[in-house]
């Protein structure tokens, strides 16, 4: 979960210059000064402690754990067994792992590409339509966005149900008789396609709303100028819309990568990574190794590889984001 709107540059504020009443009991000013200086740190303390304890420590711990042999035996006995790189050798030497990693990367890339493209198209479409239709579209997207993941997964399972699902019924009705009792979950690829559709369906509203907000911010006169110059629709998009929306597009693509790479709930709830492991991604694999099989060391190594892959995918953007924020502070 990441904030999307980066706010305007903070106005440098200097609280110590604000007029301040003297303490009523006439306490020495110096004490008030010390309190004032400590105040920001006191206000920040709970948040910083929580972040270091609940985020910072686990981050260290996952790396440390990945170098340990830690199965249920070691855990219950409280033994600490260091195995160096054994966990990594085990997973990286397993061809099945590479299959899962490749599947995760391809799946994420496809889902992100389709949802960002669809979000962009809908955002641009929203500028062309009448206000009433726009509200209808926005309400429809809000419904998809607001539905809890697990409710949505259950509904999709019902729509895609083999026997009584409305999709198969509709397909048969319009003449595709081969869909009578067709199973959408018989192969990993088709299971992932349904899950991908579900993820795109829930991701597009946020993307479309953000990009629409960006698109209506583009000054009208730029379009007028393009119109006077006789630019075609595509040329106007290339020359005006694209350069203005590019930063926002990069931002939402980055966020989508971050979110979609780690998807677990929908995949697990749909078919638990099946059939036959065919829809298992890295997040599912991590759960299977760690929680189902209690191979905590191996699972921690999977987590580390996951983060490394994600970092590899987003590194360039991350660097730019941090740098741009530094400039704004």
């Amino acid at each position: 979960m990441t904030a999307v709107h980066t706010t305007d540059a903070a106005v440098p504020t200097n609280s110590s210059s604000a007029p301040r009443r003297a303490a009523p009991d006439g306490a020495p000013r110096r004490r008030a000064g010390a309190f004032d200086r400590a105040l920001p740190y006191l206000l920040l303390a709970p948040a910083v402690v929580a972040i270091l304890w609940m985020i910072g420590w686990p981050v260290l711990s996952v790396v440390v754990t990945s170098f340990r042999k830690l199965n249920l035996r070691e855990l219950t006995r409280g033994e600490v067994v260091w195995t160096g790189l054994d966990n990594y050798v085990e997973i990286l030497g397993d061809p099945a792992f590479w299959g899962i990693a490749a599947r995760t990367v391809v799946f994420t890339a496809l889902v992100v590409a389709v949802s960002v493209l669809a979000g962009l198209l809908i955002a641009l479409l929203m500028r062309q339509i009448s206000p009433f239709v726009r509200i209808v579209l926005q309400v429809a997207m809000l419904l998809a966005w607001a539905m809890p993941l697990l409710a949505a997964t259950t509904v999709y399972q019902w729509i895609f149900d083999q026997q009584y699902g409305i999709l198969n019924k509709t397909l048969v009705k319009i003449g595709f008789d081969s869909f009578t009792g067709y199973s959408w979950f018989s192969t990993g690829t088709s299971t992932l396609a349904v899950i991908g559709l579900l993820i795109v369906w829930q991701a597009v509203p946020f993307l479309a709303f953000s990009l629409y907000a960006g698109a209506i911010g583009i000054p009208k006169d730029q379009y007028e100028a393009a119109g006077i110059d006789g630019a075609s629709g595509w040329q106007t998009f290339r020359a005006v819309t694209w350069p203005e929306l590019r930063p926002l597009l990069l931002m939402v693509t980055f966020l989508s990568l971050l979110w979609d790479f780690k998807v677990f709930a929908q995949i697990w709830a749909m078919k638990k990574g099946g059939p036959d492991g065919g829809s298992t991604t890295l997040a599912v694999y991590q759960y299977l190794e760690g929680i189902s099989k209690s191979h905590f060391g191996v699972a921690a190594a999977v987590s580390v590889v996951m983060v490394a892959l994600l970092a590899l995918l987003t590194f360039q953007y991350l660097r730019r984001l941090v740098r741009s924020q530094e400039g704004e502070l």
Binding site: H5, A10, S15, L43, L150, T154, Y287, E326
Partner: protein, 273 residues
């Protein structure tokens, strides 16, 4: 030109249909009598309507306890994250002190922490704290997941409130706390609501940690309970859809509230010119 406009509207309506259909289908299935569901007849609109599916879902073993667990965990986590996040946001936005930049950076980076990849250390940590199968474990994790987001977003909202307003209140004799409580806090209202809603939805949706840390069935949250609907409902799709609808309802209501509040803007009309 008009033809283009009409076709754009038609396309938009088709897209709207695509997004709204699953919600419609959830509700209409939940309202259908059981015998209509397991038939091969084609009924996009229910022939007859019943409330019995909702009654079935409500009475299913585990539903009420899961609902209670979910509410408790999500509300507890969000309340804590908003309070702690607001304190940090005020410091980061209103005060100038050594190390401010690093703290802002910490919030930005912490938001991007891939929590799913911290499953194993969190599991081990909760085991050490003896919190496995106990709801506070989830509340604690959801608090940590939402805190950086809350702090970051609230900082943005505080930045949006002109400092001059607080200064004016102090000139009029308010203390710093009084100025904050009487001026900034009320203006922050919509921002607080919006931030809490998004944090709440995150906690309400969370599945991986709830599944991994709460093996005891009485500690299940709604997402985990619903994911096992096939054991709960079998092929009773009406009941499953009714349960999904009940699960969706609070989120939908919250989203509608935020939509309205967000439009009013954070400081609309507070400082003219």
């Amino acid at each position: 030109m008009i033809a283009k406009k009409i076709s754009a509207n038609v396309v938009a309506l088709v897209v709207a249909l695509f997004f709204a259909f699953p919600t419609y289908w959830m509700v209409s299935t939940a309202l259908k009598p059981r015998k209509d569901l397991l038939s091969t007849g084609y009924d996009l609109v229910p022939f007859s309507v019943t409330g019995s599916n909702f009654a079935t879902a409500w009475a299913k073993p585990g539903f009420l306890s899961a609902l209670g667990n979910s509410l408790m965990v999500a509300l507890g986590a969000v309340l804590a994250a908003i309070v702690v996040g607001l304190l940090a946001a005020v410091a980061l936005s209103r005060m100038r002190f050594r190390g401010r930049k690093s703290f802002v950076m910490l919030m930005l980076v912490a938001q991007m922490a891939p929590f799913e990849a911290l499953l194993i250390p969190m599991f081990l940590m909760m085991r050490d704290l003896d919190l496995l199968d106990r709801l506070p474990a989830l509340a604690l994790i959801y608090f940590a997941v939402t805190l950086p987001f809350c702090a970051w977003t609230l900082r943005g909202f505080v930045n949006g409130i002109p400092l001059e307003l607080e200064e004016a209140a102090m000139v009029d004799g308010c203390g710093r706390w009084g100025a904050f409580r009487r001026v900034t806090l009320p203006l922050l209202g919509p921002g607080l609501v919006a931030t809490s809603v998004f944090a709440f939805v995150t906690a309400w949706n969370e599945f991986l940690f709830a599944l991994s840390l709460m093996k005891d069935q009485t500690k299940e949250t709604l997402p985990v309970w619903l994911s096992g609907f096939q054991t709960n409902f079998g092929t009773d799709w009406g009941g499953a859809m009714a349960a999904s609808a009940l699960f969706t309802l609070p989120v939908l209501v919250f989203f509608l509230i935020v939509q309205r509040k967000m439009v009013t803007g954070v400081t609309a009309g507070a400082v003219k010119g």
